[in-house]
């Protein structure tokens, strides 16, 4: 168990810089998820911690010790790879115990430890099988066993669940979280799947084009996105964003087609009459009878079972509304929508950052620990 510090960490391949100065503190025992689309530098960051990539500039410290110049094996990290990277010619037992063999442990000690780890992962009866004879989920567990047996200071997961089918992914997610609760090892987890990030993380690092966009608990990331980018990336569907001009005197946003949307003036007391982006979640949208509220043209609906997503168009921008318990016969070609002003968030339309001058309200500052505990 160790904390990890990133200090102005940069990475370039030749002239092409892919990580632009990341500053980050990962607390001891924390489960930190790096979230972002492919090519945002999240895997590179993880591999720099592992020692598989050189650090171009800046420092990475594990447990207070700068590890820039250390070999991977000296850093005390264990890694689970996306394609598992099991040695195909070795049995499950040999795969799990390979690092002990390298470390020079006797065969007896090795077998005993491998047995304990394999049993804890439900692999006890597969020890003599080759990886080729295992299912995807079992291979994943072998890869985790191989990481666990070294009793590392830090666990690194590089998109470990992306090769599994949906059902198995959920099951493995639970196992990874359980493992973390049992061992309490500091964990870095890279993924492009925001559901995975939301469910697993103590804190999430949202990355965009090699820079950190926002660091926060899943609750903060979801409810207080600090930029349009985070807002649109997190959540299924992402935040609805409508362009408009603020009218602070009336507490309204005048949308491009002339309709208006009200925002909470107490939360944003000093907004100028500037171009803004108004954001709200699909579940914050309420549907009313025709002629009441803002008009949006329905384009199609997505059935989710318990609820359905209504895709509509409002002044040229897409708007998605979540309708749960909504009766299908009430869906009309023109939807009348309204949004609770407290649910409307404002972003600067030029920079894409959350509008400054927000007065944080008590209910929104209450962060996630209680929610995590409930999970």
């Amino acid at each position: 168990m160790s904390n990890i510090s990133f200090r102005k960490v940069r990475k370039s391949y030749g002239k092409n810089e892919v990580v632009h100065g990341v500053d980050l503190e990962v607390r001891q025992g924390e489960f930190m998820v790096f979230l972002g689309p492919s090519g945002c530098g999240k895997s590179t960051l993880l591999r720099m911690v592992a020692g598989l990539e050189q650090i171009t500039a800046g420092d990475i410290a594990i447990g207070g010790r700068v590890v820039n110049k250390l070999e991977p094996r000296e850093r005390g990290c264990a890694m689970v790879f996306q394609n598992y990277a099991l040695y195909p010619h070795m049995s499950v037992g040999e795969n799990i115990g390979y690092s002990l063999r390298v470390a020079g442990l006797s065969k007896r000690q090795r077998l005993a430890k491998v047995q304990v780890v394999a049993d804890s992962l439900g692999l006890g009866e597969f020890l003599s099988r080759k990886p080729g004879q295992l299912s995807g989920g079992q291979r994943q567990r072998v890869a985790m066993g191989r990481a666990m047996i070294r009793e590392p200071k830090v666990f690194l997961y590089d998109e470990p669940l992306s090769n599994l089918d949906a059902r198995l992914r959920v099951a493995m997610r639970v196992e990874i979280r359980k493992l973390h609760q049992k061992l309490g090892t500091t964990t870095l987890f890279v993924t492009h799947d925001q559901v995975e990030a939301m469910t697993l993380a103590d804190r999430i690092v949202v990355m965009n084009k090699g820079a950190v966009e926002q660091v926060g608990t899943p609750y903060e990331i979801y409810h207080q996105p600090q930029s349009v980018y985070v807002a649109a990336f997190v959540g299924t569907p992402g935040l609805n964003l409508l362009a408009g001009v603020a009218d602070p005197a009336r507490g309204l946003i005048v949308l491009t087609d002339g309709q208006t949307l009200s925002y909470d003036r107490e939360r944003w007391p000093d907004v100028d009459a500037v171009d803004v982006l108004a954001g709200f979640r699909a579940e914050a949208v309420q549907l009313g009878p025709a002629g009441y509220g803002i008009k949006a043209v329905l384009q199609f609906t997505e059935e989710l079972g318990a609820s359905r997503l209504l895709h509509a168009e409002l002044g040229g921008s897409p708007v998605i509304a979540l309708a749960s318990g909504f009766r299908y016969d009430q869906v009309q070609p023109t939807l009348a929508i309204s949004v609770d002003p407290a649910q409307v968030q404002l972003f600067d339309s030029k920079t894409g950052r959350r509008l400054a001058g927000e007065r944080l309200l008590a209910e929104t500052t209450e962060t996630s620990p209680s929610i995590l505990a409930a999970e």
Partner: protein, 298 residues
């Protein structure tokens, strides 16, 4: 081919059969000739059905050709060359693929270009070096004006001389390089995370993974080195102790210059003896050989 028509099947089989016959007829003649006595073999036309003197001829040929010693020599040379080539090829490919040094592409291309310079092309300089191993070093030193009294060292009439000049291999290096390139990077990184150093990775992970490739390469190389003729002929003058099987064949067929009729039955029997080891090796390793060439064992 996805096409399946009876006529096409018939013709493809016909072509295959024709090729097979072209290959087998000479072998059949060798076998038939080896199984008759001296007089029958020299009849015109030669009989095309085997006679009853095969084992007698084989044993005569074995004694006449001093095959006790000669077969042993050939085995030593073939195994030595094969093992040497595989070790050298695997190590040089390992260096080219897994180590990031500046000259590695240059090194690879230099090795690759030697494909165009087989032993036959460079046989005179190779012989010169074998006759005086330290000569290149001496010339280099004297070019810089240094005169150093280096000892005499030659490889003539020795197993080293038969093996070492044949050990370098571009084909093997290339084959191993192609195989190493197909090994996923993740595996290398997993080994690094597990704490394995380069040599451990090479011996415990790469080598076991390349078993089928190694078998394929070994088959080709064994046959190739068994069949070497020109180089042993050149470097060996002590025929009693160091002659190889292929060299010995030439002695069993006395040419017209000796004024006696050629004893074809004995010569062909000797041929069968020399032919046997590569055939056996190929048959034994054939399954691996095909697998190693067409697919990676994953």
């Amino acid at each position: 081919m996805i096409e399946r028509t009876p006529i096409l099947d018939f013709f493809t089989h016909l072509i295959l059969l024709f090729g097979l016959i072209c290959l087998l007829v000479p072998l059949w003649i060798v076998f038939v000739a080896a199984s008759h006595d001296f007089h029958t073999v020299n009849q015109l036309p030669m009989p095309l059905w085997p006679g009853g003197h095969l084992f007698e001829n084989l044993s005569l040929a074995w004694d006449k050709g001093n095959f006790d010693r000669v077969m042993l020599n050939s085995f030593i040379v073939a195994f030595g060359v094969t093992a040497g080539k595989i070790v050298l090829a695997a190590l040089s490919a390992f260096s080219i693929v897994y180590f990031n040094y500046r000259a590695r592409m240059l090194v690879f291309w230099i090795i690759f270009v030697t494909l165009m310079l087989p032993l036959e092309v460079r046989i005179v300089p190779t012989y010169a070096v074998a006759a005086d191993v330290l000569r290149p070093l001496r010339s280099t030193l004297s070019f810089f004006g240094l005169e150093v009294g280096l000892p005499e060292w030659n490889l003539l009439n020795s197993y080293q001389g038969l093996i070492l000049p044949l050990v370098a291999t571009a084909t093997g290096t290339f084959l191993y390089r192609q195989f190493f390139l197909t090994v996923p990077d993740d595996l290398t990184e997993a080994a690094k995370m597990d704490g394995a150093g380069p040599m451990r990775f090479f011996l415990q992970i790469l080598m076991p993974l390349s078993k089928t490739n190694m078998a394929a390469l070994a088959t080709i190389l064994f046959v190739w080195s068994w069949n070497q003729y020109l180089w042993p002929l050149l470097i060996i003058t002590d025929h009693k102790n160091f002659a190889t099987a292929t060299m010995q064949l030439q002695k069993i067929v006395p040419g017209p210059m000796f004024g006696e009729p050629p004893v074809w039955n004995i010569a062909m029997a000797a041929n069968l003896i020399v032919l046997a080891p590569p055939v056996i090796v190929t048959v034994l390793l054939q399954r691996w050989f095909v697998r190693g060439l067409i697919s990676t064992d994953k």
